[in-house]
């Protein structure tokens, strides 16, 4: 893509610069190219399987091996996924796009050329929107094009020789290219996360970064504000958000140091080494190959009828942006909460299911983004496999809302529920999908289960005001000094008294009620 990138980067008119996040007086300019592996069962031009992790060369058919006489045949599923992305980012979907051959020799490139869209890509323009530090941001896309992946060269497993595994050869990729719109590594990472969320949301990519399903290349340059774009270096194959940020930060520092030392930046492709935290050049512009692109005569132009686009549109899930707006308007969440919940489709779905089961939205949001996600992370579980299904969490939240348990006590209940479910103690261990499907039947069961735990652990909130008044009276007598300080205007003393009362009630008192009754008592 070298020639084309040059064009894009050089000629781009950059978007209005956001509040400048200068690094040592330099403005950072970043553009992204992301290879999203499309979630088709078979390869883009053959019928071989795309499943990851098979023994080398067992998922490469005659077409993938480029045996003489073989020809590519387009996988419609890959095109359909490209259309989905185009719709999700509000792009133009070309009614006619062209596959070209990118010619170069490499042992893991069986045909000696890669089939990729060059001059006329299937998805043109569009933008990706996301939140950065509570502010909405938008990054413009140049294009997204379909192409096939190459195989893998295995240099480590053979001494003095290279092994070639062609299982990956022909895997469908969508290469998503942005304008150089990003002005900080944090913004670039936020973009990458948003794009990752989007491609998994619309189901076109499994998003597995370890397996290489979502790989980013960052084009980084720096300039003095107002100056023309600087020379960029491309950091290849960033496959974790953490390394992504480290790599860009290192690269920015390195470029600024070079310029400050009076050296010009030379256009190059670099790799990030997580072990050293540094980037190093792989090849410079002088080594750039002439890929001799030309339209692939084996593949007629890819034609996409409006009716196909309409069909795909009708089957699209609600997009994160639309859902975000709905969470704000219908469920009264803040923009921030809504954007957190819509980072993944599974999280959003969990929230919606819990709301549907009767939970209070704001409380649910706090619990999902707080206790639930903490525990899921700790146990390395996805939200889809959460031992606590949405309806159960909804009941827990409801019991907090009506004052049956305090928020703190609810945490104990939550952890008990979790432990019992995962250790098989609870009588209700069923996959979440099953539980949500029969939500009404189980809702009562959830309630009974939770109340039983509350009862068993003695966590019920003390809502009997006469019992509470008795405790308050005792505490006031026993803490005359604090009472005196409060009366002299020290708010801290009031809190100390509340603490004593909560302690005396063994955590069961309702804090709001304690507040109210104590103020009355001291008035």
């Amino acid at each position: 893509m070298s020639a084309q990138k040059e064009q894009e980067h050089g000629a781009a008119v950059t978007a209005a610069t956001p509040k400048a996040l200068l690094v040592r007086g330099y403005e950072v300019v970043i553009g992204f190219e992301t290879h999203a592996q499309l979630s088709t069962q078979s390869k883009i031009f053959s019928r071989a399987s795309t499943a990851f992790g098979a023994a080398p060369n067992t998922q490469a058919c005659a077409v993938d091996l480029a045996l003489p006489g073989t020809l590519p045949v387009m996988n419609k599923g890959a095109v359909e996924r490209a259309i989905r992305l185009g719709l999700a980012v509000n792009a133009h979907i070309a009614d006619k796009s062209i596959f070209a051959r990118k010619n170069y020799f490499y042992p893991d490139l069986p045909k000696g050329y890669q089939i990729s869209q060059f001059e006329i890509p299937v998805v043109q323009g569009g933008d990706v929107q996301f939140m950065l530090d509570g502010e909405p941001r938008s990054v413009r896309l140049v294009r997204a094009h379909l192409e096939e992946d190459a195989g893998k060269s295995l240099h480590e497993d053979f001494i003095g020789q290279t092994g070639i595994d062609l299982n990956r050869a022909g895997t469908p990729l969508l290469e998503i290219v942005t304008e150089p719109d990003m002005r900080s590594s944090a913004e670039a990472v936020a973009y990458a996360r948003a794009l990752h969320g989007l491609v998994t949301w619309i189901g076109i990519c499994d998003g597995n970064m370890q397996e290489g399903s979502f790989r980013c290349d960052a084009n980084v340059s720096v300039r003095k504000p107002g100056a023309p774009l600087g020379t960029r270096r491309e950091i290849k194959n960033l496959n974790s958000f953490k390394f992504m940020q480290q790599a860009m930060d290192y690269e920015v520092r390195w470029q600024i140091e070079q310029i400050e030392d009076g050296h010009a930046i030379e256009q190059a492709t670099v790799l990030f080494d997580p072990a050293t935290g540094e980037t190093r050049a792989m090849r410079t512009k002088e080594d750039a190959a002439d890929y001799r692109y030309f339209p692939d005569p084996d593949l007629p132009p890819l034609m996409i009828a409006q009716s196909w686009i309409d069909e795909v549109r009708a089957a699209m899930p609600e997009l994160p942006q639309a859902l975000r707006a709905r969470l704000v308007s219908e469920h009264g969440l803040s923009e921030y909460d809504a954007s957190i919940l819509t980072q993944s489709k599974a999280t959003a779905q969990y929230f919606l299911d819990a709301v549907a089961a009767g939970g209070q939205p704001k409380l649910l949001c706090n619990w999902i983004t707080g206790e639930l996600s903490r525990r899921l992370n700790q146990e390395e579980l996805t939200i889809e496999s959460s031992p606590i299904p949405p309806a159960k969490l909804a009941w827990l939240v409801k019991l907090i809302e009506i004052g049956t348990v305090s928020n703190n006590a609810a945490k104990t209940v939550f952890n008990t529920l979790w432990t019992r479910t995962t250790s098989g103690v609870a009588n209700l261990v069923a996959p979440m999908a099953q539980l949500t499907a029969t939500a009404t039947v189980h809702n009562d069961a959830h309630k009974r289960e939770i109340l039983a735990i509350v009862e068993e652990l003695g966590l019920g909130q003390m809502n009997d005001s006469s019992a509470l008044e008795a405790i308050i009276a005792d505490v006031v007598v026993a803490n005359a000094k604090s009472v005196e300080e409060f009366r002299q205007g020290k708010d801290k003393a009031f809190n100390a008294l509340v603490g004593q009362i909560m302690k005396a009630s063994r955590g069961k008192a309702n804090p709001a009620q304690v507040n109210e009754l104590l103020r009355k008592k001291l008035a």
Partner: protein, 501 residues
Amino acid sequence: MTRPDTDLHDLSLVALAEQIRQRKVSAHETAQHFLARAKAHDALGAFVARDEAVTLAQARAADERLAKGSAGALEGVPLAHKDIFVTRDFASTAGSRMLHDYRSPFDATVVTRLAEQGAVTLGKLNCDEFAMGSANENSAVAAVGHDKPQPVRNPWNMDHIPGGSSGASAVAVAARLMPASTGTDTGGSIRQPASFCGVTGIKPTYGRASRYGMIAFASSLDQAGPMARSAEDCAVLLSHMCGPDLDRDSTSLDLPAEDYTRSLGDSLKGLRIGVPAEFFGAGVSDEVRAAVDAALAQYEKLGAVRVPVSLPRTELSIPVYYIIAPAEASSNLSRFDGVKFGHRAAQYTDLADMYRKTRSEGFGDEVKRRIMMGTYVLSHGYYDAYYLQAQKIRRMLSDDFQQAFQDCDVIAGPVAPSVAWRIGEKSEDPLANYLADIFTLPASLAGLPGMSVPAGFDAAGLPIGLQLIGNYLQESRLLNMAHQFQLTTDFHTRKPQGIRT
């Protein structure tokens, strides 16, 4: 069993198929007869692979189906395939050292379709390396019965070339080593050798026959087609070679297969034959001109009328073709890199050295020449001036044909400016070879069906072919036109006298 009256090898495909169907001769006997005949004629250098055991096993299977009454349309008919089609049962070399002994794990679609009709494969036929050549002097593979590569010989005069690249496919039919064969045509590779060897050959509309399993030379031009001694035999074979193959070839036309024999009885009354002035310019030999003229006069007797038409960009088809075909070839041949299959240099120091040595050793001069030309025209800074420009002119050439077809139903002219030249005469002069393709290139570039019909001989007894070009999907009209001509002429039935065995 009653022996047929004539020698089996003098029978047409249709007649031989009938004899076998009526069980006057078994498929096994037929195969034995043709295998023996092939062996006796190995001096021609036509076969690059033969395997008696494989062929006879296929023949026995055909006989079993005949006995069971489940015979196909070509049951027991012996054929051989140009060595551009990959086959499981025989090595597939494309005439190249690069694929010396290469075995394909699958059959080409054309091979499969003919086998499904019961055809028995006698072996594989020599050709120019990767189908690049007009004389069949460029094969790097030693033919059966020979210990080193040598030019394929024309049965009418063995000191002459048979044409190319499907040279041996034409030779095998002319020498009666089989009733019909398969060939491929990229810029005239069926029509020109058919003309030079006095046989009938047709290249269908681009996309009509599947390219799956054809070792690619120039993807936007390559087409398979039959070669036989009559238009009727070609029509039968073509019917079973063509049809959609959408799961394997994206350029395959989504149209049902046709019976190309259906029009063979149609009258030619009122048929308008377009005669492009550009096909009769300087450079066309007097004897070729005279033979084509006589053929056109014969058509007038059959009720057709001559219409002058113009294909003004005929000359440009040479540079256009020799930009587009090498460009595609340079890319198509990149897969021959020594990594996965085919030749790999024995010794090398690193990856680049392995590539360099493998490809230097594996490819012949003509292939290297075209890879270099193709690489050049696709290079940064030259692409627009050469490749893109050539594509534009290619479109204009197609438009010229459509313009001409406003005034006529078919176009006729010579297949080549001359008869078959002597072996070695042009082998040191690639440009002279390229120029000889001038009349076959236009139909190839436009993707139109074209055919070669025997139409006479020069004073030395070398065959001359008449070319017929139809509009898209007009194969059955072309075949009938050739058939009507053959009903009233005998050029196609004459036997070559020049074979030394």
